[in-house]
């Protein structure tokens, strides 16, 4: 008996992210046509937002992450070992909306590590070098027991003025359910909001961290201090697996944010609130 063709089609993921205005970066590891391989490793991961965003690339073989064609829910992932990274070339002006008054909404379907208790930082996205006078964003998973951190996310928006950040949120412990499980991380950066507590919101699988920003400095006006880096940053290490990343310019409505979170949840088999 022949199989119904409709049953053989891939499961639809429900939403085309391009239908929500503002999409400015879309990296989708399940779309192998956007990835250039060097053997089994990824040398380039290209944007498919159609906005001309730079590709994330790595020209040094030993620093190239691996491609796993069925990393999560039967879909592809880019898997970073501790020393590996992809860098968005010449991108110090490409992602200013992340740290300036424009603001942004960001989504990442990823897992920070392969172990349940890595007792370490795992870098996600960084274009600021963490010095107090650097401009850009810094996002990392933090599980360092030495400073009593367990499955937290840290998100800094630095404005390039000595000692000043536009916003900082360090979530409480157990914001991330498990270091070695995929989850949908989302962030809403309303960098110019006059109310400090309304500037930066972090979500894990659609649930808010409940931690508010308290920084009151103005948003940055300059370019990022460094090219945006995905994975290992400054020798800090990352064992992350990343399935998909979306950046939208501006603050999405709550309903649009939830739509993208559910799109990612459905696509990767992640339960989203």
């Amino acid at each position: 008996m022949g199989m119904n063709n409709r049953l053989m089609r891939p499961v639809a993921s429900g939403l085309n992210p391009k239908t929500i205005a503002g999409l400015s970066l879309w990296l989708d590891a399940s779309d192998s046509s956007t990835i250039t391989l060097n053997g089994a490793n990824v040398s380039e991961w290209r944007d498919k937002s159609g906005t001309g965003a730079p590709a994330a690339a790595q020209s040094t073989a030993a620093s190239q992450p691996a491609y796993n064609a069925s990393g999560v829910n039967g879909r592809g992932t880019v898997d970073f070992d501790a020393t590996e990274s992809l860098v968005f070339g010449s991108s110090t002006t490409s992602f200013n909306y992340l740290h300036n008054a424009t603001g942004a909404t960001m989504f990442v379907a990823w897992k920070p590590d392969t172990a349940s208790n890595p007792d370490a930082i795992r870098y996600l996205l960084n274009n600021t070098n963490n010095s107090s006078s650097s401009t850009g964003i810094g996002i990392f998973f933090d599980d360092r027991s030495s400073v009593s951190r367990n499955n937290r996310m840290s998100f800094n928006v630095n404005r390039g003025v000595n000692g000043q950040s536009t916003s900082i949120v360090l979530t409480n412990n157990d914001f991330v359910t498990a270091a070695n499980s995929f989850f949908v991380f989302s962030a809403v950066m309303d960098n110019s909001n006059a109310t400090a507590a309304s500037r930066l919101f972090l979500y894990s699988n659609g649930t808010s961290s409940g931690v508010a920003n308290t920084s009151t400095n103005a948003a940055a006006t300059g370019n990022a201090s460094q090219n945006m880096t995905l994975g290992n940053f400054g020798g800090g290490g990352s064992l992350a697996s990343i399935a998909e990343i979306l950046f939208y310019q501006g603050v999405l409505s709550a309903s649009s944010r939830r739509a993208v979170e559910r799109y990612l949840g459905k696509k990767y088999g992640i339960v989203v609130a």
Partner: protein
């Protein structure tokens, strides 16, 4: 998934990189790959001018690195060091 850490003079470091690039055929435009390991000029250095390399243990198990590495370690031209020593020398940014 372990990282390994090495240090050497720039001259030794570059000779290894050149051997690896020759064997792998880098630069390779098709794979958008320029070189095997970070050039010495871009690698972190300590106050004595030694170049440092942090690298995936998986990469060290590839055929050519697995063949070359024991030779260089045995000769003393390359020194494998502990992670603490690496971090103390290169001081990555601390959040």
């Amino acid at each position: 998934m372990t990282m390994r850490f090495f240090r050497s003079t720039d001259a030794v470091y570059e000779s290894i990189r050149t051997q690896l690039d020759g064997a792998y055929g880098y630069p390779n435009a098709d794979t958008k790959t320029v070189t095997s390991i970070t050039p010495a000029a871009d690698a972190p250095h300590d106050t004595q001018g030694r170049a440092y390399l942090a690298i995936s243990g998986v990469y060290c198990e590839y055929n050519l690195p697995a063949e070359l590495l024991p030779q260089f370690l045995a000769s003393g031209a390359v020194e494998e060091i502990a992670e603490d020593a690496y971090r103390a020398a290169v001081q990555p940014p601390e959040p």
